[in-house]
Structures are given as structure tokens and as C-alpha cells.
């Protein structure tokens, strides 16, 4: 039914600006792939080049068995959901949904049937005769989705479709889109700057920065085994703490650049004497002294009821996230971490040491 998208060495220049650098990516049939990264990383540009709305400077793009590198957007048979929804303001919901089919001059009965079916799937049956301006944000979002689904395209492209919704609706639409994907099973490429969205929705997450792909992998792979310091810091919320340090003489532990030079035992030996950046996830730091422990001065405690966030008074702030409650007047806190949860990155290159 659907097919895969292959990107081969895609390069994109805007004048002197190098927007995409040697992007190669295979998107398997039926996959839900999220492109994620900070703003300006090229994720939206990459999506727009797949759609054909932006040309590429060099490289090759294959959808199914077809080389689409030089094809116009309308010849690529892809559907896109825009951040602004981009509904046709002068058309009712019904005509928005049927636009593509009407362009192809499909029989009226076939169009009516398809519209009814899509309206049922997206919950728009009652709203078919309204204009976009008469709809709420969530309803417009559904029309944009319906307009994409009705085409039965080779793949769906989503350009930050949820960023204009309020927080509660965003969580709701997140699961709706994911369920829709499970039902339809079409290849989807989803651009977002929100790593939670990427982690929860996608089978495969592509982390980008400055026009480069930093890492491709399953969401939990990225969380457990980030390829470098950037991915480690970007994936996971709250973000990973980084503390500079040095591998001990025997390679079995790492000394942190903190007052008293505390040392943490490592699960696997590392190169003795190497300068490293030590990554400690806030949720991996447990309160209490069990083996690998640190004593840290406390700057601030935030409580949400279910968990407490402790910010330490150290040169590079360390955030501790604990499920328990922390007392009011703690001057310092003892935290411990399991050796297998310690991430090491080369201090110079930021590449993960495994």
C-alpha cells in the first residue's frame, strides 16, 4: 500500500547558508518517523524538501521505486499537515476535504462517500458545512488531518501540527494522531521541536542539529544510548546534567570536578586519565547513600507533590528529580547513582564513550 522514502546525500544551500548537510535516511514502509531538534536545525527544511516545496542543491530522493528528486510537489503523491493548518478559508469543511478529489474529477458519488467516511474517522460529521473560521483550533487540526487522509497518499508529512494548540489539547491530539497512524499504517514523517512529542509518538526518532543528523534510533535507544552529548542533553526531560571530570588512574572510576573531588565507580573501565563530561540524568539520581554516592549543597527545592526537584549549589548546577519528598531546611543532599546509568562523553568532541 505505502512505500518507503529514501534520502541519499541531500544537500541544501540558501546562498551561503548550508541548511542541510549530507542527509541520508531510510524510512521504512509504515514507519512513524519524528524529525526533532532545536529551531533552525533544518528539520522543517528537510520535510519541505521531501514534499518538494523546496528544491535541493544535490542528492537523491526516492519514494517507493520512483526517483522524485526533480518532481513537483503535486506529482509526488504525498500529503502534508501544516503548522498553520493551511485550510482553504473560502471552502467549507466538506469542500476542504474533497478538494484533491475534485481536482482529479472523481465521480460525485465516490467523493461524497469518501468525505462521509473521513468525516466519521476524524469526528467532523457535524461540521461539514462550516467554514474554517467557524471552527476551534482542534477542529481545524482535524480538518487538516482529514484532508491528508482522504487522499490515501504514499506518505504523510507533518510540520509541527500541534504547536498551535493549547497544552491539554496537544496531549489529546498526540494520542489521536498516533492511533490514526496505527489504524491506517501509512508512512509518516513528523517534524517537532518537542522531544516529548517525538519520543511518545514515533517508532524512530531522528535528532538533527545545524543541518546534520546527529542520531537515528528508537526513542528508548536514544534515551539509553545517546551517541553524543547533544543528543543526551536534548532527549529526556528534565535534561541530563553534565559535570566535567577525569577518569581515574585505574580506569575503573571517574573523579568529578566538584568540591572534594568525589569519585563514581564505572560499570565498564575507561581510558585512564581521560578528560570527560559526565552525564547524570536527574531521574537516575536517587536520594540516599547506596554505593556510588555524592554529597551536594542544595540551592533550591521545588515540590510538585508527586516528585521533588532539587537544584544544587555547584559550579555547574545539578538537578535531582526524586519521587520522594525532600525536607524544607536541607543544607545538603546525598544522592547516589547506579554505575550503568552514568554516561561518559569525550570532553573535546562530545562523543559518547562506550
Amino acid at each position: 500500500m505505502t512505500s518507503q522514502i529514501q534520502l541519499r546525500n541531500i544537500e541544501k544551500h540558501y546562498g551561503a547558508y548550508h541548511a542541510l548537510r549530507d542527509i541520508s535516511l531510510d524510512i521504512p514502509e509504515g514507519a512513524f518517523v519524528a524529525l526533532v531538534g532545536p529551531s533552525g536545525c533544518g528539520k522543517s527544511t528537510l520535510l519541505r524538501t521531501i514534499a518538494g516545496l523546496e528544491g535541493i542543491s544535490s542528492g537523491e530522493m526516492i519514494i517507493g521505486d520512483q526517483d522524485v528528486t526533480k518532481l513537483a510537489p503535486r506529482e509526488r503523491d504525498l500529503a502534508m499537515v501544516f503548522q498553520s493548518y493551511a485550510l482553504y478559508p473560502h471552502m467549507t469543511v466538506r469542500r476542504n476535504l474533497s478538494y484533491a478529489m475534485r481536482l482529479k474529477r472523481r465521480p460525485k458519488a465516490e467523493i461524497a462517500e469518501a468525505v462521509d467516511q473521513i468525516a466519521k474517522i476524524t469526528g467532523l460529521s457535524e461540521l461539514l458545512d462550516r467554514y474554517p473560521r467557524e471552527l476551534s483550533g482542534g477542529q481545524r487540526q482535524r480538518v487538516a488531518m482529514g484532508r491528508a487522509i482522504i487522499r490515501q497518499p504514499r506518505a504523510f508529512l507533518f510540520d509541527e501540527p500541534l504547536s498551535n494548540l493549547d497544552a491539554a489539547l496537544r496531549v489529546h491530539m498526540r494520542s489521536e494522531i498516533r492511533q490514526l497512524h496505527n489504524r491506517i499504517g501509512a508512512t509518516s514523517v513528523y517534524v517537532t521541536h518537542d522531544q516529548i512529542e517525538a519520543m511518545t509518538m514515533a517508532d524512530t526518532v531522528v535528532v538533527m542539529r545545524a543541518g546534520l543528523i546527529e542520531q537515528v534510533g528508537a526513542p528508548l535507544d536514544l534515551y539509553d544510548r545517546p551517541a553524543n552529548k547533544f543528543v543526551a542533553g536534548f532527549i529526556g526531560s528534565p535534561a541530563m546534567n553534565f559535570v566535567d571530570g577525569r577518569i581515574s588512574g585505574d580506569g575503573g572510576s571517574v573523579e568529578l570536578d566538584l568540591a572534594g573531588a568525589p569519585s563514581l565507580a564505572l560499570a565498564r573501565p575507561a581510558t585512564p586519565g581521560q578528560r570527560v563530561s559526565v552525564g547524570l540524568r536527574p531521574e537516575h539520581l536517587e536520594v540516599g547513600a547506596q554505593g556510588n554516592s555524592l554529597t551536594l549543597p542544595v540551592a533550591l527545592v521545588e515540590r510538585t507533590g508527586a516528585s521533588s526537584y532539587v537544584l544544587t549549589d555547584t559550579p555547574s548546577k545539578i538537578l535531582v528529580c526524586t519521587a520522594g519528598r525532600v525536607g524544607d531546611d536541607v543544607g545538603q543532599i546525598i544522592v547516589s547513582i547506579a554505575p550503568e546509568n552514568i554516561h561518559l562523553f569525550d570532553a573535546e568532541t562530545g562523543i559518547a564513550l562506550r
Partner: protein, 300 residues
């Protein structure tokens, strides 16, 4: 006097003064001449009775007189041609230019600004310039056409009864295009780019995008441009005065110029008023369409 003192000190009654001023202006300079014109169209008015309000009432005699004149029907059709061709051509050329200036190219805004030069010039000046261009013996238009081998003989643009009206129409199109272009440019700029992108992905070709997205989304602007174009074209007087004076033999005469000729050249003021009354009725009708089209503007 107290009212004014209070107004200047506390702003009391300031709103009433503003309304009175505006209303007074309208009554004095719009409502009164309009009604006076209407009254005169039912009276026998000549040079001797011009100074007094007490003139013989003649009912619809003036209307019958003017509409049965031999030149009336040809002048009517001239007016229809003048308005119809001018508005359609201004719209098509203006729309095409507006779309052209949507493209991104160097000196874009500078060139578009130049187009406005024609619009800000007084129509009488434009008429004088065009009368030089159209001049039969030494005009640049004839020179060009002959140099390009399009015509052998000189065309007497302003004195040939078959072409005189079209000469004025050409000048009027040139005069009206910038206004159309600017108004339509604003409308085009208001259509979001991503709507076009969505249509592209939905499979719409360039021509399909124009007919299914651009045109329907420009409905309000098109309605405004067409009705304003009709109104402005019916007001076009200066070009006739500068180019043909309605001649030769009324071949390029139109209602608005004829009305002026009757009233102020032949002093048949009652008859001249009839024509302006008829034109007022038509313009009010067009204006009503214009108001409707702007009221239905869609807001996203």
C-alpha cells in the same frame, strides 16, 4: 458660547460638534446640490431663470426631450463601451501586473512605485500627454506603428470618428491600471503562502490554483475594484476635455461629458440635469453592490 467654552475646557459636547461639522459639510456640499440637481431636472431652466428658485415646473418634459434626441442613443452606447471596455481592460491588466509584482525580482518595489506615477498625475495632464502621443502627423504612436510596419497610413486617432472613442478608452485604461494593480496587490499579498503549498500537495496545477484559490479568495477585492472602476470611469471628464471634447460629431461623446456640454456650453441646464440624475441613480446602484461586496469580506 458657553458650549464652546465647556468644550475647550472639559471636552463636553465635543462629539456633537464633530458630528455637526461633518453633517453640515455633507448637507451643504453633497445633499443640497444633489437635491437641487434633481429639482432642476423637472424645471425649465435657462440663462434668465438661473438666478431664481421660482421656475416653471415641466414634469417629465426634460426627460422626454433628452432621451428622444437623435444623438442620445449613440452617446448611451458610447458610455456603455467606454465603461465596459475600460473596466474590463483595467481589471485584466491590473490583475496581471499585480500577480507579476508578487514575484520576487530585483527592483520590484521600485518598478511598482513607478507605475503609480500615472495615477498621481492630474487626468488633464495625462490627457495632454496622450494628445501628443495620439497626434496624427507627429504623434509617437503613429511613428511607432509605422516603424514596426504594423500600419502603412497614419491613423488619425482623435479626429477619425471610428477610432476617437477608443483613443480615449486607451488613455483611460492607462490611467486606471495602477489603481487596480495596487488594490489587487494588497488582496494577493493577503493570501497565505501555505494555502498555495497545501493546494500544490493536493495536486493543483498552476492554473487550477489560480481558479480554485486565487480567484475565489480575491472575490471581495475584485468586487471592490470593479464597482470603484465603474464609478471612477463614469466620473472621467478630464480626458474627454483634453483629447476629443466628445467629437468629432459626438462619436466619442459620453453621458458625463454630454451633461456638462448641455448645461454649461448650450445652457440647457434642465436637460443637462436629467442626465446627471440618471447617472446618479446608476452610480448609487453600483455603490450598493460595492458596499455589499466589502461587507462580506471573509476574515480568517
Amino acid at each position: 458660547m458657553l458650549v464652546f467654552k465647556n468644550t475647550f475646557r472639559d471636552g463636553v459636547g465635543f462629539d456633537a460638534i464633530l458630528v455637526t461639522l461633518a453633517l453640515g459639510y455633507l448637507v451643504l456640499f453633497s445633499a443640497f446640490p444633489l437635491v437641487y440637481n434633481l429639482v432642476m431636472s423637472f424645471q425649465e431652466v435657462d440663462l434668465f431663470s438661473l438666478a431664481s428658485f421660482d421656475r416653471p415646473f415641466v414634469g417629465l418634459d426634460n426627460y422626454e426631450d433628452v432621451l428622444t434626441r437623435t444623438e442620445a442613443s449613440s452617446i448611451f452606447f458610447n458610455t456603455v463601451k467606454f465603461v465596459g471596455i475600460s473596466v474590463v481592460a483595467q481589471l485584466v491588466v491590473g490583475f496581471a501586473l499585480a500577480m507579476f509584482f508578487q514575484l520576487d525580482f530585483p527592483l520590484n518595489t521600485w518598478l511598482r512605485g513607478l507605475f503609480l506615477a500615472g495615477w498621481i498625475m492630474p487626468a488633464l495632464v495625462v490627457g495632454a500627454v496622450w494628445s501628443w502621443i495620439f497626434a496624427g502627423d507627429f504623434g509617437v504612436l503613429n511613428y511607432m506603428l509605422q516603424a514596426l510596419g504594423i500600419t502603412d497610413a497614419k491613423i488619425f486617432w482623435l479626429s477619425n470618428p471610428d477610432v476617437a472613442l477608443y483613443s480615449v478608452i486607451i488613455a483611460n485604461i492607462w490611467l486606471g491600471v495602477p489603481f487596480n494593480m495596487i488594490l489587487l496587490s494588497v488582496g494577493l499579498a493577503g493570501i497565505p503562502e501555505d494555502v498555495y503549498e497545501a493546494a500544490q500537495l493536493d495536486g493543483a496545477s498552476r492554473i487550477q490554483r489560480f481558479f480554485t484559490i486565487t480567484l475565489p479568495m480575491m472575490r471581495a477585492q475584485l468586487g471592490a475594484v470593479i464597482s470603484l472602476g465603474v464609478i471612477f470611469t463614469l466620473q472621467q471628464f478630464d480626458l474627454f476635455a483634453a483629447l476629443t471634447q466628445g467629437g468629432p460629431a459626438n462619436s466619442s461623446n459620453v453621458f458625463q461629458y454630454w451633461s456638462w456640454q448641455l448645461s454649461f456650453q448650450y445652457y440647457e441646464i434642465g436637460v443637462g440635469s436629467v442626465i446627471s440624475v440618471l447617472m446618479i441613480l446608476f452610480v448609487v446602484f453600483v455603490a450598493a453592490i460595492y458596499v455589499r461586496s466589502t461587507r462580506h469580506e471573509q476574515v480568517m
